[in-house]
């Protein structure tokens, strides 16, 4: 029964269909707002659906020199990883998240899967652009995973210590993290967690691959990098995976830093959660995207070491010492 319920959560709510609808809606809105910031009209909100529908009607082409199995598996792996991930995201007041033990750690392991899928696809495609994209993806992943780990640790340690009555401890259950914050105030407003929150805001464009960190897929340098050889349903699957990832990383951010609820009604809480995700996306992805250019890979790496890692480290040390 539990297994069945788990599968339902991964396929319908909050993973799978729900996450896809929200992810595509956010992507459409993101494109629209970005267009407005650049004084363009922008595509309609349903554009991601139309793009996917079009891609699904196309033929699947596999380069002769590609490693066929890895090439075909890569988008599936990326998509599946994110579909599972989405089920772990608690929607405060609506859904508690799948398996409430150590799911923060599970998420930390699952979050890099789309990037790994991208690397897999890029290297399997046997295109030199894919190879460059692969190495860039790897570098940028190393750069943003370090601050992410520190952010997760500082959240877990702060709440673990509070639950343990000030003693050393760490709490990796997202549900407990959410519940503690609902009782004691959001972490995003806690002065010692503000650096970690800022680091998370910088982590978001890094993991989503938008400017200034869209280096692995840089159009004018490596022509979409790992995605270059993909087309048709496989490319659509990459887009779907990316939409799910949008939902996951935004939802995780909201769950860790602003998990408050506004009413007892689940529908209002759901809307409130989505609204917070939307604000997070506009602030950290859309506005940043339309206000910056692209870093070179070494500059991006240096930036990640100097700014978000230091910010996250700052929070971690504060949590540890206080």
């Amino acid at each position: 029964m539990d297994t069945l319920l788990g599968i339902l959560h991964m396929c319908i709510f909050p993973g799978g269909i729900f996450a896809l609808i929200i992810g595509f809606f956010f992507k459409g809105l993101d494109r629209r707002v970005e267009a407005r910031l650049q004084r363009r009209v922008g595509p309609p909100l349903v554009q991601p659906w139309l793009d996917t529908a079009k891609l699904l009607t196309k033929e699947t082409l596999i380069p002769n020199t590609a490693c066929k199995e890895a090439f075909l598996m890569a988008p599936v792996v990326g998509f599946a990883g994110m579909a599972v991930c989405a089920a772990f995201i608690p929607v405060p007041g609506v859904f508690d998240g799948l398996y409430n033990m150590g799911d923060l750690l599970v998420l930390f392991y699952l979050l890099p899967i789309p990037a790994i899928a991208m690397m897999m696809g890029g290297s399997a495609s046997s295109s030199p652009f894919g190879a460059v994209g692969f190495s860039r993806e790897m570098i940028i992943m190393l750069a943003y995973e370090t601050p992410l780990l520190m952010i997760l640790l500082s959240v877990a340690m702060l709440i673990g210590k509070a639950l343990n009555g000030g003693d050393w401890g760490a709490e990796f259950s997202l549900l407990k993290i959410v519940e503690w914050q609902q009782a004691n105030g959001s972490l995003g407003l806690n002065p010692i967690m503000i650096p970690a929150f800022l680091a998370y805001l910088i982590f978001l464009p890094g993991t989503m691959g938008v400017p200034p960190f869209d280096i692995p897929e840089a159009e004018t340098e490596v022509v979409e990098g790992p995605l270059l050889e993909y087309g048709g349903p496989l490319l659509a699957l990459f887009h779907v995976g990316s939409a799910l990832k949008t939902f996951v990383v935004l939802g995780l951010g909201v769950a860790m830093f602003f998990p408050g609820t506004i009413a007892d009604s689940w529908i209002l809480n759901l809307l409130w959660f989505l609204f917070k995700c939307l604000v997070l996306m506009l602030v950290s992805l859309t506005v940043v995207k339309s206000a910056t250019g692209r870093y070179r890979i070494d500059q991006a790496f240096r930036f990640f070491v100097l700014v978000p890692t230091m910010l996250a480290l700052c929070s971690l040390l504060l949590v540890w010492l206080i």
Binding site: Q38, R39, S135, E219, R294, R296
Partner: protein
């Protein structure tokens, strides 16, 4: 050479390139080890075509050598024919030619700057610069009726005159565009990403620049005081007051700065043209074609354009030969690309403002 060395094609069709040119890059990780350049994809045999058309028809042909500096080609071609025919064109025509040339220069420099932002992944800045450029496109369309090929030059003068109403319109548009260009200059000179991407990139030391004979903003970005408008003034330039813009950073950024600062000189020139333009006819008659040879050169947005013509008394030229700025700047890419990364190839290439269709014609 390590195992990680492999070749990577850039072009002939590539997002970062406006025109087809093929780079075969030998890459070690992100670093470029060797650059091999192949071109010839847009060769149209124009010099041969020019020898099969009469002198008047060639104005139209030369205007189509290149899109962004189209006016410079018909301008220089008209000049070289006038030199061969020993024609003196009316004063008013000289001013009108300078005006068209400077309007094209503003549009061309803004276009190149916008493409630089696009290559650096800065989409909003690209849109911003292109939007400002649109003001100049409107001017072209209103005054000349076309957005790219102005078709304003003809042998012996210019085709279209401007009246008081059009002059008022041009001056109004210049007032609109000037503060916006100032803003763009500030963005390129202060934006963190643009500076980290372009400053110190693609170094071309003055000695190398001198030795390679580079022209235009590439030469001026390396501190060389080279500008045909100053070195051998033509048309109305001797009567006009403007500055020679030189930057000594020798990098991609200083080339961009030369282009952006030149915009204001062009605005100054157009204003002076509008004010000082004498009344009178705008073209003279061609007269008889002698057996002669002649040379003329002008400063196009990308640098010096030089035309040579030999006439044999018939309406067809015996030889028409031209040298374009990108041909001179092309070789400098080898120096600039030394030790750069994959991410920088397109930026360095764009910094010479290459015009492939000019070079290959």
């Amino acid at each position: 050479m390590s195992i990680a060395t492999y070749t990577m094609p850039l072009g002939p069709v590539h997002v970062a390139l406006e025109e087809p040119v093929y780079f075969n890059l030998t890459v070690d990780g992100e670093n470029i080890k060797n650059v091999e350049l192949t071109s010839g994809h847009v060769h149209r045999g124009m010099e041969q075509l020019a020898m099969q058309r009469n002198l008047v028809k060639n104005v139209t042909l030369t205007e189509r050598v290149c899109s962004l500096c189209s006016n410079s080609h018909s301008f220089t071609y008209s000049m070289v024919v006038e030199n061969a025919l020993q024609l003196e064109i009316p004063e008013r025509a000289k001013y009108l030619r300078v005006m068209a040339e400077e309007i094209k220069r503003i549009a061309s420099h803004l276009f190149n700057t916008a493409i630089q932002a696009h290559i650096a992944g800065f989409k909003s800045l690209f849109m911003h610069v292109m939007e400002v450029r649109e003001i100049m496109q409107d001017v072209k369309e209103t005054v000349y009726g076309n957005r790219m090929n102005l078709a304003s030059n003809c042998i012996g003068g210019v085709k279209c005159d401007v009246d008081a109403e059009l002059i008022a319109y041009i001056l109004k548009q210049l007032d609109v565009i000037e503060p916006q260009m100032r803003e763009i200059l500030d963005i390129f000179d202060s934006n963190h990403i643009m500076l980290t991407r372009t400053k110190g990139l693609g170094i071309l030391p003055p000695e190398e620049a001198e030795a390679l004979g580079v022209v235009g903003p590439v030469a001026r970005g390396s501190g060389l005081r080279k500008d045909v408008r100053f070195d051998s003034p033509y048309a109305a330039y001797p009567n006009l007051d403007f500055d020679l813009i030189v930057e000594d950073g020798c990098c991609v950024h200083s080339r961009t700065m030369v282009r952006l600062r030149e915009l204001f000189e062009s605005v100054k020139l157009i204003r002076q043209c509008c004010e000082q333009m004498p009344e009178g006819p705008v073209r003279t008659h061609m007269g008889k074609i002698p057996v002669n040879e002649a040379f003329a050169h002008t400063e196009a947005p990308r640098g010096e354009v030089a035309y040579y013509i030999r006439t044999n008394g018939t309406e067809l030229p015996a030889r028409l030969k031209w040298r374009v700025p990108s041909y001179m700047n092309w070789k400098a890419l080898g120096v600039m690309m030394k030790g750069c990364q994959i991410a920088e190839v397109a930026l360095v290439l764009n910094s010479i403002d290459p015009c492939v269709s000019c070079t290959e014609r």
